[in-house]
Structure formats: C-alpha cells, structure tokens
Amino acid sequence: MILVIGSNMTEAHPVAASFVKQAVLRGAQLYVVDPRRTALADMATLHIPIRVGSDVAFLNGLMHVLISENLYDREYVESRCTGFEKLKAKVQEYPPERASEICGISADMIRDVARRLASVKPGMLAYTLGITEHICGVSNVLSCANLQMLLGNVGFECGGVNPLRGQNNVQGACDMGALPNVFPGYQRVDNADARTKFEKAWGVKKLPDKPGLMIPQMIEGLTNGTVKLFYIFGENLANTEPDIRHVEHCLESAEFVVCHDIFQTETTRFAHVIFPAAAWSENDGTFTSSERRISRVRTASLPPGEAKPNWWIFKEIAKRMGHEWSAKSAREIWDNEISQLAPSMAGVKYARLRGDGLQWPAPNEEHPGTATLHRDRFTSGLGALTPVDWIPPAEVPDEDYPLVLSTGRRLYHYHTRTQTGRSAGLNDLLGEETADISPSDAKALSIGHGEMIGVKSRRGQVFVKANITDRIPQGVVWMAFHFREACANWLTNPAFDPITLTAEYKACAVRIEKVGEKTDQRI
C-alpha cells in the first residue's frame, strides 16, 4: 500500500513513479492525496482531493478515526513511540466532521481512508514539496510521521515516510554541511566537541559557534545592510525565490556578488565576478540521492574554455586567503576529508562506489550501507509523536484575490530551464508556461482554452495562456516557475515556515482576468 501526498511524482520524479505504478499493476493499493487530479491519481485506488493547505486537518482527521476506532498499531506505539497521550488529545479536536469542513473531503471518506490505511501492512508514505512548501511545512511533515507511526509503518522496507528530493544532490548538499547549523554529517556547529574536531582537521584556531543565516535571511540581509557580500554558487535565485521583484531589489542592494555558474542567468546579472564552472559530466565526484545513496559522477568531457571544477575554485580562494588545502581531486576530498569527518559516511570510499554506490549510514568499510532507517528502534530512541494544529496558509482568497495559486514543476523542464532550455527537443515539447485553471472558473470569466489571461497577486502580475483542465479543482490556479516571463514567482508569497524558513510556494491568493482594457498591464 502506498500513500502519496503532495507529490506530482509522474512529472517531478518520473522514474520513482514508474515503480509506484508497477506496484499498482501488481495489486498494491494506492491513495493519492492532492488538490489536483494528477496522472498518478488516475491509477489510484482513491484520489483524495483535499483543499490546498489543509493537510494537517486531513491527517489529524485520519488519526482521530484510527484512535477512536482503535485501528492504530497499539503494540508498535507502546513499544517504539512516545507522546501518544498528547497526540491523542490533539487529534481528538479533529473529528472527521471538523476535518471535513477544513479539507473539503467528506467525513465518511476520511473514515473510509483511515480504515483502509489500517488494513494493510506495511504501508509507505511518500511526499514531496506539496507537504513542505507551506508556512506549516514542519507541521505537515510531523503529521505524516505521526500517521505512519500510529500505523506502525516506520522501520520497514516498503514502509516509512519518504520525502522525494527535488534535485539530484539536495540530499548531498545537506549531508556535506551546506547548512547554517551543521558541519558535514549533521554535526552541530554549536557543539564544542564537533568544533574542536573540525578545527583540528582543518588546521584552524577557532570555528564560528553561532548557527548562520538561512537563504531568506541572507536575501533580506542584503537590504538591511547585515550582509554585504553574497556568494552564489549554481543557483538562480532571481527566478526561484518567491516574489521576484523583491528578490531582485535585494540582489541589487548587495555590495558585492560572486557567482559560479555554467551559464549567464537572471541571477548573474547582479554579479560583480562570475566564475565559469565545470558542469555535470565534466566532473568527477559524487551525488547523493533521496534514498541516501552515494553514487559516482564521472567525466565524459573537459569543461569548455577555461571553465574549472567548483571545488578547485574554492581551494584557490582559500589559498589566496592564506589556507593551503592539500586535496587535489574530488576523490581526495571525499576519501581523505569527508569520510574521515562524517561518522555516518566513514565507510564510504571511492573504491567502494563502483556499481550501485552505497546508502549511508555506512559507519565502517565493512558496512554494506543502510537501505531502511529506524529498523527495530528509532535512530533517536523512541519515535516522537508530536501533536500539531492546522493553520491556514498565510494568504487566503478574499474578494480582491478570490483564487488560490499553487505552483510546482512540469515534466519537460527542470527549474529555471538553464539546462533543459538548452537541451534540444525539450522546448519543443513544452515551449511556454500556462495557467492551469478549472473549467468552471474559466466559464465564470468566459475564458477560452489557450486564451491569454492576466494572473495577478499582491506582488505582481503575469500574462500567460489559460490551460483549461478538469485536473484542477474550482478555485485553484496552478503554474510552474520554468519560464521567466510567466514565472509563478512574480506572484508567490514570501511567507515562510517559522522553523525551516521554507517559503509557501504552494498557496497564495490571486485573481485572473481576461486580457482587455480592464487589465492592468503593469508588471
């Protein structure tokens, strides 16, 4: 049994989706929770079209049924989890009737889904950014974990809570400590022992002990003067962050901007120095996938012109600032530094990465790697059931902006198209953005399929063709951020989860207009 929530897998992770679809063909039950009727929903046992941003209410409603009907895995919860009484008290506030009012799914269907989820073991839950890209992203994730723990589904193959990572190496960038609060291997910067260890390894006297800024704070810091120099490596922030006009104002305010990239982008327009970098197949190195699998990347050709590997550029800057780093290749960086410093990857060496790579934790060189976490016991001891409340999105529809804009990715392009936009054929398959709207909203405004419309939020306005489809529920507009002109991020709301500072890309209020005299043409 597979529960997919907030994940348009067939477009964003097509190969992962193929395994889910295969499981369905072989008899697995599939439950797809998504406001849109995605392609995966077509194959689902049930499609559960909750309202945008109502995940916690829906999940709490399910858990209310599991507990009140005594369907949860009592033995698992008692032996492996903690916090049940508090969770129980919280979900008691969400009887199916109340959950139904918030999420738009009937109370009977909530009961039905809860009973079905409790009827098969193990069950897998997979989520993507539909869960995290909300001001309550952390609560959404905790709710997914609560549900899976109540069902006794964590710690098993084909079970667990499985976030599908959006980028090839977003897992790896986290693992490597490209985060403001941890060194490589998730060792905290505010832990004195960890700092001592890294000070010794890196040959420096004192490492900073205060967690640093997260991206939204960095961007804001450019306008309030706390951040003077902004160093952007392989990111197109001017297109990917919510509220483009504001982000560009911030980037413009920087005293000095350094970029590494393989192309000029909307972001390099703000750079004072651009370093030309080696791209994917010009590198030797490693990527780490969603399933913590460290796999090799190998060189097929040399970088063009004078472009250089990024690791070399960082090393050269360090040298000019008085630090000689000895590693002369990515392999030396991994074998001599990363695997020495990150205990969970101590057993990972390049010599072991032939073939299918290794899944960390692999604490020693004899360790075969770990496919499933939390087997027998949770890594942290007991699984913490954590009660959470539903809150609405930061911006909800009103009279002026009566529709919800939700955003995401489309099959034929990747992010801001720096790569796919320059790969022959892909632009032919998808050459422009559309605003996907429901037939009823289109009818109400007499909008025809393919007609140019204006989509306007409190941040900005774009002009884009209407794509009328019954995959979109009434009241929702759906767009992606692949194309600059009609990028959803001219409209999105820079409201953030208070813990992770993940932006609420999945919900803001907009209105749509036929393009005519009434339309405000200003962008």
């Binding site: 959006g166 190496n169 977003v170 790896g172 960038a173 490209a178 120099l229 790569q419 022959a424």
Partner: protein
C-alpha cells in the same frame, strides 16, 4: 507447482516453482537466444527465437513463456531447434528493410546479431515493398516502421516497466503496427517521451533523433554516471565519442532505476555543449561584465572577502551552495566559509 529437477540437455538441474525454461537454462549457463524477451515484464513468446524442444510436446516451445515442470526433458541445442530459430530469423529479416549499412542501430541490433549467428541475409523470402511511413515529426524519437519486427518489447516496456501506457499493438495480420491511442504520432499522443521504447527496441525501428548520424555503436565508449536532474539518482551510461556525449541510456539492472530513465535524464544532456556556456571568468567594470584571467578574478574575490571581513566582520558574508553540483563542491564551499572566512552563513536550496 513444486520445485524439483528437470533434464536440461541431458543434465539434471534444479528449478524454482514457476520458473521459465529460459530462466532456468540461463541459471545453468545454457545459452538460449532471445529477441522479444524483456526482463521484468510478462513474457509474450512473440518472436519464437527462444524455441526449444520439450519431450512429449508436439511443437517446439518458447523458452521464455513455458514454465518448467518436474521431470521435464528440455533440449536447447538440436538441429531441429536451430533450424526453427534460423527460419524465424530469416522470416523476421525478410519482413522489413533491414539494411544494416544505413541503420542507426547497426552494431547494437539483436536481429543483426542473430542473422550473423545463423549466417543468413534475409534473401530467402520476398520482402514487402510497402511500409508505414517513417514518423519523425516529434523532436526526439524516430519511428521507422520498415525496421519494426513487431516483437512488442516497446509495448511491454511502455505498459509494464514505466507504465505510461501510451502504445499498444494495433491493426491485424499484415497491417499490424505498434500504435499510440488513435494511431496518432507520438507528440500528439499520451507519450511522455521517456524513450524507454527506444532503449529496448532490438532493431533500428526506434532510434534517437539527436543521436542520428553521430556515432556507430562500436565507436563509442560507455561511461557510467548519475543523472543530473531530480533526486532519484538514476544510473545511466553516457555514450561518448570524441569526448562528446552522443546518447544516454539507462544502466540495466542497476539500483535504483533498474534500467529506466525519464525524458529529462535521457534527452536533457546537450546543454553541456551549448555555445552559451561560460568559458572565462568575468569581472564587472563600470557596470559592464568583461573577461578576466583566473588570477585576476580570484585575487579580486579574495581581496573583497578580506576587505569585507576587516570592515564588517565575517558574518557580513553569506553564501548559497548548489544542490545540482557534486558533494565535494558543497564540502569545499562550507569549508571555505567556516574555516577561512569564519562564518556559518552557508546554506543551499534544500529549504526552498
């Protein structure tokens, strides 16, 4: 059905319940050629190349789709078997325009291999003189029906491996054709251009448009790598000629993708060779970017970093690493920020 033993070319060998003759034979290092067989999908027995003799059966049996039963006597290497296989290859060769000289798949063609093995040229039977026209209106995949032997591997891959369910067998008899819904061209159909059909096509019926004319199979070296797009981490082969990727295929059997790729992974590689690639360091001067040497650009950035640290402290510097690039790059960047600059202001797009 119980497990047990059976006789394979006179030797007693064991088998698992439900195992096909083909699987049991391959486990015992016995060669049976196949053409339509596609691992991981339901065997169809369509091509009749894997024929074997089973004692007591009136006709030859397809090894891929015949389960072993206890005590079964199977012969894989008899004149009758080889004659039947040879005849079937001859018929398949005669069914289309299999002119290897011009075929994109020469050197990577199961039919060609079998013809060579059985030393036949397809001249025994009269070839049809009319075929469905080649379809190449879409940007990525060429469908040449004159080279299609209707083995159905593409149909199996589309329906059972990637489960996109875009193609099927259509029409009947001599008019048989692999079709999309309504027999529309790929780009007007349910096809999502994952290219799995091209990957499994055993002849030159389905080929990659971008690879056309760039390299013969034997001219390329294969380099194993990891896909640069989503977080699934698909394993792929880069087919490289003269330091240039000409094609990408999935690493068969490898974890995690088990021989599958999507449209971006398979066809989104040539941005590497875009003329718009940045080739030299650039420095902004009087509002305009100009080319610079590495020394000049690196010295400038190091000087600016030092100056900012002196004037405003290390926390006035912030950096964003790349979730697209290799682990070792992110490691180096956070090391630069923490140990050289002296700030933890290092982040990347995991949160956005």
């Amino acid at each position: 059905m119980s497990s047990g033993t059976f006789l394979l070319d006179g030797k007693t060998v064991s088998f698992r319940p439900g195992e096909s003759i083909l699987d049991a034979a391959r486990k015992n290092a016995t060669d049976i050629p196949t053409l339509c067989f596609l691992r991981g999908t339901t065997p169809t027995g369509a091509c009749r190349i894997c024929l074997v003799e089973v004692k007591g059966m009136r006709t030859l049996s397809a090894a891929c789709s015949t389960p072993v039963s206890p005590g079964m006597e199977v012969l894989t290497d008899t004149p009758r078997v080889h004659a039947a296989r040879k005849l079937n290859v001859e018929l398949l060769l005669s069914s289309g325009r299999h002119d290897c000289l011009l075929c994109e798949s020469s050197g990577n063609c199961k039919l060609q291999e079998l013809a060579y093995r059985y030393q036949i040229d397809g001249s025994l039977f009269k070839k049809p003189d009319q075929f469905y026209p080649t379809e190449d209106a879409n940007p990525l995949i060429v469908r040449d029906y004159s080279r299609c032997i209707l083995c159905g591997r593409c149909v199996q891959a589309c329906n059972e491996l990637v489960v996109n369910r875009a193609i099927s067998h259509g029409y009947r008899g001599a008019k048989s054709k692999i079709v999309t819904g309504g027999d529309a061209p790929y780009h007007q159909s349910e096809c999502v251009f994952c290219g799995q059909c091209v990957e499994v096509c055993p002849t030159g019926a389905l080929t990659e448009k971008k690879a056309k004319g760039t390299a013969r199979a034997w001219e390329t070296k294969k380099i194993r790598t990891t896909c640069p797009y989503c977080g699934v981490g698909c394993q792929m082969w880069l087919h490289v000629k003269d330091d240039r990727i000409v094609k990408v295929t999935a690493a068969e059997g490898a974890a995690p993708n088990r021989g599958r790729l999507c449209v971006k992974g398979r066809f989104g590689y040539d941005f590497i060779y875009s003329e718009e690639r940045l080739k030299t360091p650039m420095i902004r001067e009087n509002g305009q970017l100009r080319e610079a040497s590495w020394d000049e650009a690196l010295d400038l950035v190091a000087a600016k970093l030092k100056e900012t640290i002196e004037r405003h402290g290390p926390d006035a510097i912030a950096g964003v690493s790349s979730a697209r690039s290799i682990n070792e790059d992110s490691y180096q960047m956070q090391k630069l920020f923490r140990s050289v600059i002296g700030t933890n202001n290092i982040d990347h797009c995991a949160r956005t």
